[in-house]
């Protein structure tokens, strides 16, 4: 099989590695216009902050690719001819394929604000963005970040590391209003405060103002405020990169349309990761998933189909993680902003504001646990996943909470306090803490 993969992000590379494992004789080529080698997109911020160098965020060493017979091409795929089964590259090369995987990822969504073309206005998605940010933030004093999501807080942290003053504009009433409950968002707000970042909630960008040289000099907000700044980060989301798909017969909507096996409307052409849009997403699932983890899982799933075992994508019990300045966040299962009807929610917060835990569970008998939010606490993925998929009663989960504790040794254990508060709030489910994590594991 000649497998051609467009994109060397986590999806394309995971698919390539899985195919290599399943089909040792396959010819695998990966094309990327962004970088010669796969790198961890989620680690871009650490390069800017000087924690690591660019070569340190590559998950695999140079020898890895030739030793696993993975051919890497650094060029733009400019057109796709599904009839001739061939992709044309920017360097004129024509690549024939037996099977094609489109893993083209995303592009920053820079919706039509006046002034978005000014120098010093950009999103953060890939290496070219990082290089521009490096240039345009050098020696500046003030920056504005637009967007109260994960990239928004990352940009704020990056700029803060260089001593640049930051104001963040957030459309919602609290941080990450579409995902985090208000209580958790308040802890993130405390992180902003501790690091001297100004956040304007319920405020959007109205206009970006430039100077005579075509550089940004201020933004105007929907609240009518004008904020002087020399750089603007637009962190209002990403949208599937359809540039190559749109040169072909492959059907697209917002993303490249795929069935549950990640197959497009054209035989032997597949799409996975950020760029794929499910025609029929599962109940309660979104059609386009733009996370590192979902990209990896889609890449693994599509590899099985590519190797002749048609396999439906099931993302399983939801999980995600992030870090807001010094506050770590992990989530498992379903934890919506407001508890769904028929769901109860228990929230515990340490007085210091650096640790919190939310537990959601069914109100109906059985009281199965449905989701966890952990802030400043590390929870065992495998344990939480088991609890949720086995519909474990909340009382049992609370009683054995220590089994999910993944904090380092000697860290203060909060289980006793959590259980006490839980029993106060839900006396009908009162639990007795059974197991504590000890020195002996």
């Amino acid at each position: 099989m000649r497998l051609l993969i467009i994109g060397n992000g986590i999806t394309g590379v995971t698919a390539a590695l899985t195919v290599r494992r399943l089909q040792p004789e396959a010819q695998i080529t990966l094309v990327s216009d962004e970088s010669e080698q796969h790198y961890s997109r989620t680690a871009l911020m650490y390069v800017y902050m000087g924690h690591m160098r660019q070569q340190d965020i590559r998950p695999y060493d140079d020898w890895f690719w030739p030793e696993n017979r993975l051919t890497l091409l650094h060029a733009t795929a400019t057109s796709l001819d599904t009839q001739a089964r061939q992709v044309t590259l920017s360097n004129g090369q024509q690549l024939p394929y037996d099977k094609l995987l489109l893993a083209t990822g995303s592009v920053s969504r820079l919706t039509g604000w006046p002034g978005r073309e000014l120098r010093g206005v950009q999103g953060l998605y890939g290496l070219p963005d990082l290089a521009r940010m490096e240039q345009d933030t050098h020696g500046i004093k003030q920056a504005v970040v637009v967007g109260g999501g994960l990239i928004g807080v990352e940009l704020a942290e990056m700029l803060h590391s260089r001593g640049i003053g930051v104001t963040v504009l957030v459309r919602d009433a609290h941080y990450w209003g579409s995902v985090l409950p208000a209580a958790e968002a308040r802890l993130v707000q405390q992180q902003f405060e501790h690091h001297g970042i100004t956040v304007r909630y319920l405020t959007e960008l109205a206009e970006i103002v430039g100077n005579a040289a075509g550089r940004v000099q201020a933004v105007r907000t929907t609240a009518g405020e004008e904020l002087a700044c020399q750089w603007v980060g637009l962190a209002t989301g990403v949208t599937p990169n359809l540039a190559l798909a749109q040169t072909s017969a492959v059907e697209t909507d917002r993303g490249i349309l795929v069935d549950e096996q990640l197959q497009t409307n054209v035989p032997d052409v597949y799409a996975a990761g950020d760029c794929a849009q499910f025609r029929q997403p599962g109940r309660g699932e979104v059609p386009i998933e733009q996370l590192w983890y979902t990209g990896r899982m889609q890449g693994e799933t599509v590899a099985h189909t590519l190797c002749g075992t048609p396999t439906a994508y099931r993302r399983g019990v939801w999980f995600n993680s992030a870090k807001f300045f010094h506050l770590e966040y992990q989530t498992y299962g379903r934890v919506p902003v407001q508890p769904e009807t028929g769901t109860d929610s228990f929230y515990w917060e340490h007085p210091g504001g650096r640790h919190a835990l939310r537990l959601n569970f069914n109100s109906a008998p059985g009281h199965a646990v449905t989701g966890f939010n952990a802030l400043g606490l590390r929870l065992r993925h495998a344990v939480c996943e088991q609890w949720i998929s086995n519909q474990t009663p909340v009382r049992e989960v609370v009683a054995t909470l220590g089994a999910a504790n993944f904090d380092p040794e000697f860290y203060r254990q909060h289980e006793a306090d959590i259980v006490r508060r839980f029993n106060q709030q839900f006396p009908q489910h009162a639990a007795v803490l059974q197991r504590r994590k000890g020195l002996w594991g």
């Binding site: 970088s35 902050m49 490096e134 983890y293 099931r314 999980f319 380092p408």
Partner: protein
């Protein structure tokens, strides 16, 4: 095979950093002046003036280091503080790092080969400095200072001062606080004060925290004879202690806790690496080639010291009948190349260029011994948390032993490596809560998470 890049070069220009506050600059200047005062102390022929220079130097260096640490870390919210690590000349093999390396290496060369006392008790180029410590040495050990007392004092001071820095820097992690406290305690108590007090009471100088094969002398016939004859009951206990620690306590403790119980909690070499060497931990080479060199060098060193020990005892028993002078030659060879050049000059002198654990990783026979136990006979492992790894590389970056931790984490596999000293920094640096040091049961120690592979039932229905 890569074609020529289609996009323009993305190489990031490194801007000059401007993140050092005035206060920090003042503190750093104080440290610099302190080192100048140290030079003055070394050069001054007048004993009183030299001593005064030394006190001024120590005050400036101590105050400067602790003050700088507080200004740099103490004023910011507690949490991982690695900003600009690779952008600074001192911590990214820049000019400052090279100068530091040359100065450190030079000091070790002076110490090992140009400071032995001559017939008149003159300690070569370090003579001035050695004598400034005479009053302190009299107080602690009831005898005049020598070059090794000077070295021990500086070494302990480095661990205490840079330990103070580490306590500020990692104050958000109780594991790091307790572990740093432990290396400071063992260095000060067991590797400095106690050996001094033993001398004070006319007993043999003995370090209860160093064992064969790192402190190979302790189980060689010469030292054993001396301890038993000179130290009487206490000397017999010292020999017993050394043997029990090397052959009984080491396997047992390593079985329960991994090699970390020694390498990053007790050992003085480890103590210096974890404190003074902390700014350089990211410089260790993570490549596969480096790992191969590590295996090629460290196990032969262990084999060599076993051979040296066996040869010396054979000589002792047979009164030199079979090996004769060859055993002594082997012993001197080991002492020069491994004991002095490798562990001292390269081990510490190259901190700013090759990271803080060059000796521990490539040369230490104790680490090799502990590593074999840890790999094959221990409950210790670093667990990875399901599918949460994002391959960011922070764990590999901070690994002073050059383990490419993310290779395991991104596969969901536990890390069971002979070289891991259990400093816990990978877990501290992980932004997603993926890594944890655990002493679990030995069953399933290598089992990978099922949450990361497509083979798992979770993804494939």
């Amino acid at each position: 095979m890569s074609s020529s890049p289609a996009a323009p070069s993305l190489a990031l220009a490194q801007p000059p950093l401007n993140d050092i506050s005035l206060g920090e600059k003042a503190a750093l200047t104080g440290i610099g002046l302190g080192f100048l005062a140290l030079l003055a102390a070394a050069a001054d022929a007048d004993a009183w003036r030299a001593r005064l220079s030394l006190y001024v130097a120590l005050a400036l260096i101590s105050g400067g280091t602790l003050g700088w640490s507080w200004l740099k870390y103490g004023r910011k919210p507690a949490g991982l503080q690695h900003d600009n690590l690779w952008l600074r000349s001192s911590t990214s093999r820049g000019a400052v790092a090279w100068i530091t390396a040359v100065v450190l290496t030079g000091f070790y060369v002076l110490l090992y080969w140009y400071s032995s006392p001559d017939d008149k008790g003159h300690f070569g180029l370090l003579n001035g400095l050695v004598h400034t410590l005479d009053p302190f040495s009299q107080l602690l050990r009831r005898r005049a200072a020598d070059q090794w007392f000077l070295y021990g004092t500086f070494y302990t001071l480095a661990i205490l001062l840079m330990g103070g820095r580490a306590l500020w820097k990692y104050r958000h992690s109780r594991y790091q606080l307790i572990r740093t406290g432990s290396v400071m305690f063992f260095q000060l108590g067991f590797a400095f004060v106690l050996p001094g007090l033993l001398l004070f009471f006319q007993q043999p100088e003995f370090y209860f925290t160093y064992f064969w094969p790192l402190k190979y002398d302790y189980l060689l016939p010469g030292t054993v004879d001396y301890l038993v004859k000179d130290g009487q009951a206490l000397g017999v206990f010292m020999v017993f202690w050394g043997a029990v620690m090397a052959f009984l306590a080491t396997p047992v403790l390593t079985y329960f806790f991994g090699k970390r119980w020694y390498c990053s909690w007790v050992c003085g070499c480890g103590g210096l690496a974890e404190t003074a060497g902390d700014p350089y931990r990211q410089l260790s080479d993570k490549s596969r080639a480096a790992w191969r060199w590590e295996v090629r060098i460290i196990y032969p060193v262990l084999a060599l010291i076993i051979i040296v020990t066996a040869a010396m005892w054979l000589n002792q028993v047979l009164h030199g009948a079979v090996l004769g002078a060859a055993a002594d030659g082997l012993y001197r060879f080991y002492g020069f190349f491994v004991g002095a050049v490798f562990s001292g000059v390269v081990g510490v002198g190259f901190y700013p260029l090759m990271g803080s654990r060059v000796w521990c990783r490539f040369g230490c026979p104790m680490a090799a011994y502990l590593g074999l136990l840890q790999k094959h006979f221990s409950r210790f492992r670093i667990t990875t948390n399901g599918g949460q790894c994002i391959s960011c590389g922070n764990c590999s970056n901070v690994c002073e032993m050059g383990i490419d931790v993310k290779q395991y984490a991104q596969r969901g596999e536990p890390i069971v490596r002979a070289s891991c000293v259990g400093c816990g920094m990978c877990s501290t640096a992980c932004p997603r809560g993926v890594l944890n040091l655990e002493n679990g049961p030995r069953e399933g120690r290598y089992a990978a998470s099922t949450l990361i592979h497509a083979d798992s039932l979770r993804i494939l229905s």
